[in-house]
Point group: C2
Chain length 350, copies 2
């Protein structure tokens, strides 16, 4: 019953209560606080502050607030920004989380276990009339994909590997299109993306049969001028996640792809026996497979993650890839004329 | 608790109690009795008989037995061979299913809902010391794929579409290898396959992140001369299921593929706006993507479903495809010299 309720809650996407108070528990290892750091880095404006227990040494550098102070500053939910090994709520967190519910904040979790599975939290949420959101749970009732062509336009960020900028590239493109007055929407497919967008579908948590169907659900029919900018996941050459990437590609049926790459990376992250494909191979494979559901799919350009390079080296690197691939190459974090060229290539009629 | 118990039960694969009594409920539509027909057609020797309620008009043609009679003839479980729309146990079935438990049979279901979710069945199973198996539930604790090369040899059946012979081809190849004294095992990836094999993983029910990991789990390290013959799922060109097929391909890391095709089929089943790829395209794409986890992947031949052709037309069709593709082409249901040629191509060193 509780778990059904949690599912029903999270199936109402696009409605996470924002802004957030980031909960750090009693964490002492930065690597377990990825969600909090991700939100601080990619959606600073959505984060009112942080809330930590005695003993925590990790900090986001945001103001340290009590739930009541955070609520007064506008926060409407507490995000559990740390993950423990078991993926469950730690008993030591309960008083603080209950405190947040009392202060008027809803709770949001990206952990494996559902917040509703904790009877103390479920009781506190019910008695205070607050809500518990599990962003890692996909909505119920996802249909099998049909492959039917939908109206409106779609862009998907793809990559040569995981964790090299697909989310940030999609966010930056959506932001740029909106700034130009174009009707555009960022469509989140991962946990942090869902927290940033306030909605979306964690595509890698969907049962395999419904992968492409979930992607179809995520970017529905839209007005002819509308753009859905879909956050990519995994990589077609990734030995563990290629299936997710292909289901997302088929279901999204993108008109445009932007290929993301880290020029310093030579091997699959965490699987060092696998070399990365070249950008040319990644683009060619994506176009070949993507044609199945959108015959006019095209690559508008390259998003390079040049964060490890100096400004001068980065510009040289972008120019080198531009010449090699004959495609616009830009780093969304550096903007500049390269970025403008990429955005214009996105918007050019196919 | 009950659902945890069900999961734990089904995670002990390779141990479904056989042979089976096929339960037909009060079914009047053949299309809802696919599981029963599948078992009768592909694993006749595992089916002791059928058991139906008054009002049922569907029959498998097998002896109609009570659970007690079936038990006396060797049956050790009752398989729910019909599926209703809701995917749950129908209240009208309960007395019959309880009857089976009393008679000493375990229950096996391939429906969406777990048998353990029905409190009457759970109570009856507990009081009679019998077991309830949900073959649609994947085991718990599937790891993320690593892509590590495993010992032993693997064959995967792939196809131009769903439902054209991938399961039967794999069963026939495994059977033939065993008959030659080769250490070989059929590895089931779908519900009917799991019932036939008595174990396996329903790959399309796995959470997307763990797709390739499930395939790795299914065909583990083995002796150098051992062959795992893995049942394919979906198709790389299928707009709804390609992600499943790619995850299965990467995780299986097959040394050999056999490509399955129905020469009379021109469009994707149920999605008539999509033409089928040619066999050449399907093989080329499978080899290109499969190389990622096994550089020496090769196609040993073609399995054609010629069930709609006369014997004479079928042999002509096999010869035509053989000439066109320069690969052994056979129909496992017709055997003959074509089939021997295909099996020998499987066994030839790569």
């Amino acid at each position: 019953m509780n778990s059904e309720r949690a599912m029903e809650q999270t199936s109402r996407v696009d409605k996470l209560p924002q802004p957030y108070l980031l909960f750090l528990g009693n964490e002492t290892h930065e690597s377990y606080a990825k969600t909090a750091f991700g939100l601080r880095d990619w959606a600073r404006e959505l984060c009112v502050g942080e809330y930590a227990l005695d003993g925590a040494t990790v900090t986001t550098g945001l103001p340290r607030l009590t739930p009541r102070e955070a609520w007064r500053r506008g926060a409407r939910s507490l995000v559990i920004g740390v993950a423990n090994m078991g993926g469950q709520v730690t008993p030591a967190w309960i008083p603080a989380l209950t405190n947040a519910l009392e202060a008027g904040l809803d709770l949001i979790s990206g952990m494996h276990g559902s917040l509703w599975d904790n009877p103390l939290l479920a009781a506190a949420a019910n008695s205070h009339g607050r809500r518990l959101f599990d962003v890692r749970k996909p909505p119920q009732g996802i249909p099998i994909a049909t492959g039917r062509r939908r109206s409106g336009r779609r862009l998907l960020t793809v990559g040569t590997d995981c964790a090299l900028g697909k989310k940030y590239t999609a966010l930056a493109i959506a932001g740029d299109l909106k700034a130009r007055g174009i009707d555009a929407e960022f469509r989140a497919t991962g946990q942090t993306g869902v927290l940033i967008a306030g909605g979306g579908i964690p595509i890698d948590a969907v049962v395999a049969d419904f992968l492409a169907g979930a992607a179809e659900l995520l970017s529905p029919d839209a007005a002819p001028g509308h753009w859905d900018i879909v956050e990519g996941q995994g990589a077609l050459f990734h030995p563990a996640y290629a299936g997710v990437s292909l289901g997302l590609l088929h279901g999204t049926q993108p008109d445009v792809i932007v290929a993301c790459h880290d020029p310093g990376r030579t091997h699959v992250g965490g699987l060092e026996q696998f070399t990365l494909p070249t950008l040319e191979e990644a683009i060619e494979q994506t176009i070949a497979l993507g044609r199945r559901t959108n015959a006019s799919i095209r690559c508008a350009g390259i998003s390079l993650n040049t964060s490890k390079l100096t400004e001068r080296d980065a510009r040289a690197c972008l120019a080198e890839y531009r010449a090699r691939l004959s495609l616009p190459c830009a780093d969304p974090l550096r903007q500049g004329p390269e970025w403008t060229e990429l955005i214009e290539a996105v918007l050019r009629e196919g």
